[in-house]
């Protein structure tokens, strides 16, 4: 485990020389900025709904984007190591499978945080332009906290898929599909989760658990969902790396 800082640093530096990471960063910021600008025009400050509406919409929009952009960040993590043969040099150094998987996860999470930081400009702008009607800080803080948890879970899914699939494009598509399925599980059952089965399917919904964060509520059940999903997918990734190595 003492090797994790060195591995995380390596992972992070790999992101900063990767064109795809810059593309993801640009697309994320441009689309988030576009959504913010659109909502700023749509919600009238006079109607008293501007501040809350703009930020809630932005948070929800970013949460959906994360599901589709994170797989582009995670697709190369382990599959590229396998394809280029560097897995052999990595795994013949005294590092554990767990350390490798956790470092990949933390390195990507580090880049994800870097990706979110510029979007803080939007709430700051809201403060500056909203006059006397200052926006409520609660939903902003909980919303960003929720985005971090959502990002964690999405990255864990991506790390796991990247360990399973050798081809990077397939890894991105498979991770996006899993995340989309988890998203739709919550969305399709919304408002009609009456029996236990539908409720169970709804509980799997990755954005269903984000809803309360965007409203300013931090519910421990939602936190537990994201933490459990992250732990499960990372645990599976460690298992896949071990099986690949020893089979």
């Amino acid at each position: 485990m003492s090797k994790i800082p060195a591995l995380v640093r390596r992972e992070l530096s790999a992101f900063f020389v990767s064109p795809i990471a810059y593309i993801v960063l640009t697309v994320f910021l441009v689309l988030a900025g576009r959504d913010f600008a659109y909502n700023r025009a749509y919600f009238s400050p006079d109607a008293g709904q501007f501040a809350y509406g703009a930020i809630a919409s932005l948070l929800n929009y970013m949460s959906v984007m994360i599901l589709f952009l994170v797989p582009l960040l995670t697709m190369r993590l382990i599959s590229e190591e396998i394809n280029s043969g560097t897995m052999e040099t990595l795994m013949t150094a005294p590092v554990s499978n767990t350390a490798v998987v956790i470092s990949k996860f933390l390195g990507t999470f580090g880049f994800f945080v870097v990706m979110l930081i510029p979007t803080l400009a939007f709430p700051i702008m809201l403060y500056l332009i909203s006059g006397d009607l200052k926006p409520d800080t609660g939903p902003m803080i909980s919303g960003y906290f929720g985005l971090l948890l959502l990002g964690m879970a999405a990255i864990a899914v991506g790390v796991c898929v990247s360990a399973c699939v050798k081809n990077q494009i397939s890894a991105a598509v498979a991770a996006a599909l899993i995340l989309a399925l988890l998203w739709r599980a919550g969305a399709e059952t919304a408002g009609r989760a009456t029996d236990w089965l539908t409720q169970a399917v709804q509980y799997l919904g990755i954005l269903y658990h984000y809803e309360s964060f965007a409203k300013g509520i931090i519910d421990t059940r939602d936190v537990i969902y994201y933490v459990t999903a992250t732990a499960l997918f990372l645990f599976a990734a460690v298992g896949v790396v071990a099986v690949r190595r020893w089979r």
Binding site: S13, T89, P94, R247
Partner: protein
Amino acid sequence: MIEVRNLTKVYGDTVAVDDVSFEVARGEVVGFVGCNGAGKTTTMRILTSFAAATSGEAYMGGYHVFWDSDEVRRIVGYLPENTPLYNDMRVWEYLMFRSRLKGVPAPLRKRRVAESIDSCGLETVGRRVIGQLSKGFRQRVGLADALVGDPRILILDEPTVGLDPIQVRETRRLIGELGETRTVLLSTHILPEVEMICGRTIVIDAGKIVADAPTADLMKQTGADERLEDVFIRLTAEQGEAA
């Protein structure tokens, strides 16, 4: 230092390594010779704890390659076939990273990296990005990586492939020097290399060991105008006929 007992590795229907046993003593430089697909790389991967054997046992420095894989990886320096490296890193940065992974204590790291750069002739490219290096330099970065942890055992899979004649000579001299203080298992296709630097030769064919003897003794089996190459061809041909 290296102890291999009845090692077998099966992939699906293919037996890549078939009941292989040998030992390498401390300070020996042993050539591991065989055709493509003979089982050299698979054996080396098992010895470096990268792959698991289907059956049999192997010990490196007394540590079991499966059960004590962390200790094995601590005492073994490995240069894999085709030298996989992180192309986006600079040579110095890569070796510092690898020295951290190999647990080199922080106060010693810079010195160890400098020494491995120096012994592999990488002084002129230390600040260059690995992806822009020639094959020869890449090979030497791989060798420097194998050395940076100051390992007791070196497993080198075709260390001179892609090097120019001068680099080949320097690398052979370096391996010879390393063999004075370390145990070296060296896989190669280049038989004159084995003649020059390996005190003992193990010949593997179709996953089985067909010869294991001091290189000088193998050379004695040759005729007046023969080289080790001829012995190798004869041994592997005999094995093919027997099969």
